[in-house]
């Protein structure tokens, strides 16, 4: 089996599974309980928070543990929009965000907020100048993702962060779910106020993530309850998942540069191979440094993505069409349309996502199968054309 869908989710590392299991067995106390078991759980929670914070050079109090990327994005966007609504009701985001950002903005529009959705260029990148031009007096929030989950295009969040330093009233949120642990991004240095991360994208457990929330920003909580996580995220802390996540982020941070280099090497090999296959069109920028190390995206105009995915599945190779959260629908990809692709092409996107554990042989097998499938599809297209 060859699994090339690491942008959707990753298999947890054995060390992570071990941490989760041992925390469940040994630290089952509720961190809020007054007795010794509670105290131990609280200490472990505090240590975990310190370790997670240290991977971002942040302060432990700036880390809010959540149930994952969707909650992190919801808490960041709605929490900030509600908290600071007296400042204004205008939000800037992009047309290429993950549904958990996009749908939040849609909800806020229904509540009377105004949202500007910026398009991307043909390479899938947002222009920082367009962000600047969209700023109004009543803008309270800018939300731009770091790495696009579909195309892998890296967004210029550091440039945007630098620019927004001159706009202290505007809060800057970055959905970094696809990049944390893979690319370096220190929120405080990059001028980022809120940053979402999820554990299961970097070999951690599912159902857990965190939101970086720069001091002294406050968020209106989504959940009412016992006031855990500084009152922002009530609910008994999922300590086993949190320790597992901490393990995963720490390991990822420790080998970030090696892993990044390894994946860029694999990516270069894959990109070159795909470029040689007739009918396939690579998406995104040609310059590797503008693209995330773990994602390669291409289209085959005229062939529905789903057909291509199932064709590869016959060879026990698993790839994806787009954000796993939207791939059920038959519509052309919203992200690809925002880049100016015609609908027929935007319905044919294929995403291959790598892990540092893949080998060059894995890539060669994949390329071989891609060539075979593409040939078959072209033959079908020609037959269709004759009819």
């Amino acid at each position: 089996m060859l699994y090339f869908d690491h942008a959707a989710t990753t298999p947890p590392l054995p060390e992570v599974i071990d941490s989760v299991a041992r925390t469940m067995a040994q630290y089952f106390g509720n961190p809020s309980s007054l007795h010794r078991l509670g105290k131990e759980a609280e200490t472990l929670l505090r240590r975990a928070r310190e370790v997670v914070a240290s991977t971002l050079k942040a302060h432990p109090d700036e880390i809010i543990f959540t149930s994952g990327g969707t909650e992190g994005n919801n808490l960041a966007i709605k929490g900030a929009a509600w908290q600071y609504r007296s400042r204004g009701r205008h939000i800037i985001t992009t047309q290429i965000e993950h549904p958990s950002v996009y749908e939040c903005c849609r909800q806020l529009e229904r509540e009377g907020y105004e949202v500007t959705y910026l398009p991307a260029d043909a390479s899938g990148r947002i222009d920082p100048e367009a962000v600047r031009a969209a700023i109004r007096k009543d803008t309270i929030l800018v939300s731009v993702m770091h790495v696009n989950n579909e195309t892998g295009a890296i967004q210029p969040v550091e440039e945007i962060g630098r620019m927004l330093r001159n706009e202290p009233r505007i809060i800057f949120h970055v959905d970094a779910v696809q990049s944390v642990g893979k690319l370096e991004l220190e929120p405080a240095r990059a001028g980022i106020d809120l940053m979402t991360a999820s554990a299961h994208k970097i070999h951690g457990p599912r159902g857990v993530g965190f939101l970086y929330c720069r001091e002294p920003i406050r968020l209106t909580p989504l959940l009412s309850g016992g006031g855990q996580e500084g009152g922002v995220r009530s609910g008994t802390e999922a300590l086993p998942l949190i320790t597992g996540m901490t393990k995963a982020f720490r390991l990822a941070a420790e080998s970030l540069s090696e892993n990044r280099a390894a994946m860029y090497r694999l990516r270069a090999r894959l990109v070159q191979g795909i470029g040689d296959i007739p009918g396939l069109r690579l998406t995104g920028a040609r310059e590797a440094e503008r693209m995330a190390p773990h994602i390669v995206h291409f289209t085959m105009p005229g062939v529905k993505s789903e057909i291509f995915v199932h064709a590869l599945e016959e060879y026990d190779i698993y790839v994806s069409t787009r954000s796993a959260c939207s791939s059920g629908s038959d519509e052309p990809s919203r992200v690809l349309l925002a880049m100016g692709m015609p609908p027929e092409e935007a319905a044919s996107g294929i995403r291959i996502s790598l892990s540092p554990q893949h080998t060059e042989e894995d890539i060669d097998v994949l390329l071989d199968r891609l060539r075979t499938v593409a040939e078959r599809m072209r033959a079908l297209q020609k037959q269709g054309g004759k009819k």
């Binding site: 941490s19 010794r36 131990e40 609280e42 200490t43 240590r47 720490r250």
Partner: protein, 407 residues
């Protein structure tokens, strides 16, 4: 500010006659240890001045460290100039431009220990001021009450230019007044008392009484964290944790309720005295504050203090609560102190503690407690000692260690 050197001033120390050298050395040792993260910085003594040569180490960070040194009365960031007029003038101009906020008036003050320098002090004074004035159009000279005094010191090899004077903590260098035990409860007052005693040159070891299992691990962590804050000034603090539960519960069974606090405090004081002897300390520091609570009236202080012959140092005795809180905030213990965990003093609080305990009754009661001596001995024997440093990583209680593998 682009400082090359830092000039240190000692204040009170200069009064100390023959001990001066010893005191100075104690302080320089302390500074040296705080400068460990800045290996390029060097301490130099030259003709009556003590300087830190920064050699490229960041001034702002070293400044923060110096803010934790007892005995330092003030210090100044210094820019260095070559022994020629141009260099001195340019450096002086740069120093004036770096002042924040920009002064409206200034004067130049020249010292010239190097008599071979071709311009004498009044001449150089004029030459520097007349160079600066046309280049800073907003600036005027005021020799009587200037916003800033720009000092130029012409020495044998180079000239120093400085103006800013940063106040130090004052007091005496750490440890020059000997060692004392600090009774540390976890409240707001006792860490402040400890810090003020430390500023007077006292080396501290902390004593904390806990009533495990009635008081929690959190209360212990709180005291550890407080010691961590004090350790930022002292390098490290030894913390003695006394198991007080047995004495406390037995006293509660046998003593009149309104005298319980007095008897408890007397027992604590006796244990602290024995720990002091054991660790060669010659005093006991407490956070007692006249009239604050029942055990801090004059009769209570007398009843409690009379069990020991050691000097009891009570730095807060006449301070207002607000002043105490201000210091607690300054040394960053306030936020820790207000965490709401039970400690052994808030446990079993009687409804009406006596503000005027009768000494005779107390002595009679204690006479009948034949068990007390054994209990005191046992408490001293079972005391657990930890070494607390300013880095929180090393101050985990032992139960935290297996956790590291999980993260």
């Amino acid at each position: 500010m682009n400082a090359d050197l830092i000039l240190l001033r000692f204040g009170e120390l200069s009064l100390k006659g023959r001990n001066r050298y010893k005191f100075e050395q104690a302080m320089l040792d302390h500074i040296q240890s705080l400068l460990a993260p800045h290996p390029r910085a060097e301490i130099r003594r030259t003709s009556g001045r003590v300087l830190i040569e920064l050699n490229g180490e960041p001034y702002e960070e070293v400044k923060e460290k110096l803010g934790r040194v007892f005995g330092l009365s003030s210090f100044s960031p210094v820019m260095r100039a070559r022994l020629d007029l141009d260099s001195i003038r340019q450096t002086a101009l740069e120093a004036v431009r770096a002042m924040d906020p920009p002064p409206r008036t200034f004067k130049v003050q020249v010292r010239r220990p190097n008599k071979s320098f071709p311009y004498d002090s009044p001449r150089l004074n004029h030459l520097v001021a007349s160079y600066i004035l046309p280049r800073c159009p907003e600036l005027r000279v005021d020799v009587h009450n200037p916003d800033a005094v720009l000092q130029v010191e012409v020495r044998d090899e180079e000239a120093y230019v400085f103006s800013q004077v940063v106040r130090g903590l004052g007091g005496f260098p750490l440890g020059t007044s000997g060692k004392a035990m600090l009774m540390l409860s976890g409240g707001i007052d006792s860490p402040v008392a400890g810090w003020m005693a430390m500023r007077r040159g006292v080396l501290l070891e902390a004593v904390h009484f806990h009533s495990f299992p009635y008081t929690s691990e959190r209360a212990k962590q709180k005291v550890i964290d407080l010691c961590g804050k004090l350790a930022e000034y002292a390098g490290e603090i030894r913390l003695h944790l006394v198991h007080f539960t047995d004495i406390q519960t037995r006293l509660r069974q046998e003593a009149n309720e309104n005298l319980l606090i007095t008897l408890m405090r007397r027992a604590m004081m006796r244990i602290t005295e024995r720990l002091a002897h054991r660790h060669r300390a010659l005093g006991i520091v407490t956070g007692e504050n006249l009239g604050q609570v029942a055990s801090q009236t004059l009769p209570s202080l007398h009843a409690i203090g009379s069990v020991t012959t050691l000097p009891i140092i009570r730095p807060l005795i006449t301070m207002d609560k607000e002043e105490i809180i201000r210091v607690a905030e300054q040394i960053e213990t306030y936020e820790i102190s207000i965490l709401p965990y039970e400690d052994c003093c808030t446990l079993f609080v009687p409804k009406h503690p006596s503000t005027n305990p009768n000494m005779q009754v107390i002595l009679q009661l204690e006479e009948r407690m034949s068990w007390l001596e054994d209990y005191l001995k046992e408490a001293v024997e079972k005391t657990e000692t930890m070494i607390i440093t300013s880095s929180p990583e090393t101050n985990r209680t032992s139960s935290a260690d297996p956790m590291e593998e999980l993260l």
